[in-house]
Point group: D3
Chain length 131, copies 6
């Protein structure tokens, strides 16, 4: 439905983001996600800037980069976004994720989705000790 | 809507689970979630057994217990389950979660929820390199 | 945020729906849901008409009325709509739902929410035999 | 899984709806959605009637037809319904939607999905001024 | 992304589950779902055990097996899990589900999803009579 | 659970954002949402910057500010975020939203949520004309 914008057809503003993606990720390939988002340069810049700062392999945060990829994957699986699952599973593997870690993340996602609905269905009141 | 089943009014089968919860968590308080689930002993046993094995502080898995709590919290926030957010935030704090880690987990959950919809909305095809 | 429209302040068109609700349900109480929806008479008429025809206790369909209430409840729990859970739980009880049936419905909702994410997370391809 | 019901194999009741769809939309093509829904004539009639009245290009409502298509698209993207995104994107284009409008709608959908989870995750209490 | 584990390559622990699936379902085919889940034997055992006990055609519960399949399908449709919809639709057919029952279940799922959002959007307060 | 950070206790970096919010919105009140987000200055800056640029009443985009508020509300209702519904309903009212427009937006949200599930449940294939 939406065309992907190649480097050769991109505006200077979009090329600037593409250049940063390629330099940051040490690759000559810009993923389809960014090439679709290039239709909206404001959003492209804002999302890439957040992704680089928050999820980058050299990000200096309270959580290590792999843990953040697992959290990102957990949400994407829970929301059913196939593209996001595939692209971030690849990203997580580059950061060292093992098959056993992926499987255990999925097990937690499954359990949380189950217990979320049990808590809602039983309309469990919040414990005084948790307030 | 649903009453909570106290230890004194619980069947032997339910008491057995309560005893294990209290022993495992070194507490005399059984959370409301379990006391509601006690209406369905089959589910109580199955969910507690999974929770203990997968999420326990001594669980021997591919991911450390705190990482799994963060994944569990990420899903619960994304699904909007208040009870689950509150009870597992308390659990994560007991396992050492800092305020900065909680905030960074939320930032990832927010970003993933945003990019999930951008990928879907642009109907981004999966890159050949990701197949 | 939204005011509830009482019978005395309702237009003739809205009163006509309220009258039908009270006659169909053999009650003098019109639930808050309908009194909020009265701000939009088109939607009030359309939704009430569907609800009466599809979910009515005398509806003549392929599924019995209680089964349909359980399906309705399952979706409402899965979506986290507290109002819908409470109002349709009361409706289901009037149609004979037992506490054990409610609990078993919740167990299925929990299991489905878990396995949905496992199937998505493992990107399970559809079996040839299921196509 | 579900067969599509062609005009030639449709009942008189279903044909009546198909005729109205073709006349209203000035086309000889009845979309697959309606041809699947034809398995349930009650729902076909109810949904088509709502769609025509609420979303029709000549609908006389508080919002203009294009705004409503954008709202419809926003929900469909947020829910991840590919069929709905594609069919209503085409519908919105017929009503004049530009590529820039589609992109900006997606940006809002992304931002709302992000901030929804931040509000939930921080358990932000409603401001007194908003009550 | 994830490989499927065939019987011949499965561990003794996984084979034990496969054997039980084939014996319980009287088939020589183990669905792809289980063959993917075999990467995580703990989860495979826990989910199969729940599925067998809760959803089995000979399960002895408060709800009959077909009703539970319809509830399972309703949740899976609402969540947009294609694999789950296809595999459990086949399962429900084996338990006697008619096309009319499937269509009526979908109509209820559609109505519940609509009214859930109307209740949330109008911020309808819970009736005193429902507390 | 999370404390709200008042201006007097905020860092210079957070105060800078608070100042911009108050100047942009011509108010001395900083909503609770921002005062919670202040725990994570990076996210506070990024989200406020996006919100201001995309949703501001003087934003110069392809869609007018009220249309974007309606889209934002539609997503928030669909996701069940009470805080977001209340705060952005107030924002939309300031931009001129009428009660009839709010009601019609909700009607579209309800219809989209219904038809999304019908399209998924019937597994409707995308029409060739929509590819």
């Amino acid at each position: 439905m939406v065309t992907l914008i190649d480097y050769d057809h991109a505006s200077a503003r979009v090329r600037h983001v593409y250049d940063d993606i390629m330099a940051t990720r040490k690759t000559s390939h810009v993923n389809n996600f960014w090439r679709a988002l290039a239709h909206d340069p404001d959003t492209l810049e804002a999302v890439w800037s957040r992704m680089k700062r928050l999820m980058g392999s050299e990000a200096d945060g309270a959580l290590d980069p792999l843990t953040k990829e697992l959290i990102y994957l957990a949400v994407s699986v829970s929301n059913g976004c196939e593209y996001c699952v595939r692209s971030h599973a690849a990203g997580a593997e580059r950061k060292g994720m093992t098959a056993a870690q992926y499987a255990e993340m999925l097990a937690v996602v499954g359990l949380a989705n189950e217990t979320n609905r049990l808590a809602i269905g039983y309309q469990v009141p919040v414990d005084d000790s948790l307030r």
